[in-house]
């Protein structure tokens, strides 16, 4: 509870620096305040982990703990801590201030474990795989992919939208629709190697109001070719016009049109995040 209040204070403190960069001195000052609060405090009653102190090195905050003799770090402690931080929603300030964090664990005054987390890892990390083979809208396509930590996972609201991953100002969706015949991987490779054919497909794809697609590239994901393209979407709401950025990875797999679409209506372009989600795709039972 106390720590929560401290974090809240820290967030307000940092946000009050409106548009100023958070400096190493700012981090040091705050670490000092945190240090006063954390020393000797039982931070986890279930394990008996006690606060040992907080220090900073540059723009890295290091939380130090004393652990009981019977405590041992689990193998994936970094993943678990990162996941907990993101899912608790307490990462924005680190991302905003580009502040790295670390957790040091001491047993009998001896350092037994260090966990270092870069602020970029707190900005975006993928969670577990979501198996979508048996989803009714997957049309039997055998695949899975990872959802981003801290993003809401929603069912698709359109007839062919399998799932949506939604954050504050970005959305990623998985679209699958049956086409009228099977295509082998080789046929898709051949099709996508023909520039005129790809442009014709993209023209049909983007031929709806508001969607302007830029050039394209061919990507290989899971040994299967995908067209990557991006562009802008115009959206009008309550008389205000918003311009969104969209990214698409499109392909034909067996007898299904499959595309992954990431979109955002803010100044942020989430290409890297959308790319990471798409790149986590696993097409199951494709290999010998």
């Amino acid at each position: 509870m106390k720590l929560k209040l401290i974090f809240t204070f820290f967030i307000i403190f940092c946000l009050s620096l409106t548009a100023q960069e958070i400096s190493a001195d700012d981090v040091k000052e705050f670490s000092s305040k945190l240090n006063d609060q954390i020393i000797g405090t039982i931070v986890d009653p279930s394990t008996g982990i006690k606060g040992r102190g907080v220090i900073s090195i540059g723009k890295k905050i290091i939380f130090q703990y004393d652990v009981p003799n019977e405590w041992y770090p689990f193998d994936d402690i970094k993943e678990v801590v990162t996941r907990n931080l993101i899912e608790s929603g307490n990462t924005k300030i680190y991302v905003y201030g580009k502040i790295d964090i670390a957790y040091y664990y001491f047993k009998n005054d001896r350092l037994i474990k260090m966990v270092n987390i870069d602020w970029e890892d707190l900005n975006f990390s993928l969670g577990d795989y979501i198996e979508l083979t048996n989803h009714p809208k997957s049309n039997g396509l055998e695949f899975k992919l990872k959802s981003p930590l801290g993003w809401e996972i929603k069912e698709g609201d359109g007839p062919h939208i399998v799932k949506k991953f939604v954050s504050d100002d970005a959305m990623y969706l998985i679209f699958i629709n049956e086409i009228e015949q099977f295509y082998s991987s080789k046929e898709v490779v051949d099709l996508f190697s023909n520039d005129a054919d790809v442009r014709e497909l993209l023209e049909a794809f983007g031929n709806s109001s508001g969607l302007t697609l830029s050039n394209y590239k061919i990507f290989t994901i899971e040994n299967h070719p995908f067209i990557y393209t991006h562009g802008t979407l115009k959206k009008e709401r309550m008389g205000y016009e918003m311009n969104g950025k969209v990214h698409f990875w499109i392909s034909f797999i067996e007898d299904q049109l499959v595309y992954f679409m990431g979109s955002s209506y803010s100044d942020n372009d989430y290409y890297t995040e959308f790319f990471k989600i798409t790149n986590s795709l696993k097409l199951l039972n494709q290999y010998y």
Binding site: F175, E178, I179, A204, L233, Y259, N285, Y288
Partner: protein, 170 residues
């Protein structure tokens, strides 16, 4: 190519929905086998539909007999059929399709094998095609008689061999 453009055009509707506009679009795949007129297992019907869809996309439009039975059967429970994965009785009889698929085999088959066995049995009854010889060069073909040996094959193998078959009989 035209199918793909149609599919893409259909996709555009979703995009329109995403920007808040509502439009309707008429794309839907045809169901070639109507449940009410034919005796088929529900689980088999999508595979049967795809068989006729793929025949049509290769320019093959066979007459569909009024007597159309394709369903699961406990072939394992009969001594004479205990090692049979599928049986067809409409070979060289254009008035009927009568196919029984071994339910236990079906449950053990991967996705490609399920497509293989449905296309194999329907090719007997609809296209009057006979089994191929058990030879290495026929391995992977739709009319190869031992689908159980296809447990290492993938959907890509099925697609290529299905197209090879339908192109050869066009």
């Amino acid at each position: 190519m035209i199918y793909l453009i149609k599919a893409f055009s259909s996709t555009a509707v979703i995009l329109v929905m995403l920007v808040g506009l509502i439009r309707q679009h008429g794309y839907s795949s045809k169901n070639y086998v109507k449940t009410q007129e034919y005796e088929t297992s529900k689980e088999l019907k999508p595979y049967i539909d795809k068989f006729f869809r793929d025949l049509n996309s290769h320019g093959i439009y066979p007459a569909i007999p009024t007597k159309f039975i394709m369903k699961f059967s406990s072939l394992d429970s009969h001594k004479s059929t205990s090692h049979v994965h599928g049986l067809s009785f409409g070979f060289e009889d254009d008035d009927k399709v009568e196919i029984y698929i071994n339910k236990n085999s079906w449950n053990s088959f991967n996705k490609a094998q399920k497509h293989y066995i449905v296309y194999h049995e329907l090719s007997h009854d609809i296209l009057n095609l006979d089994d191929l010889n058990d030879s290495i060069e026929n391995y992977g073909r739709i009319m190869f008689p031992y689908i159980s040996r296809y447990n290492g094959l993938k959907m890509n193998d099925f697609i290529e061999n299905m197209k090879h078959l339908f192109k050869s009989i066009k």
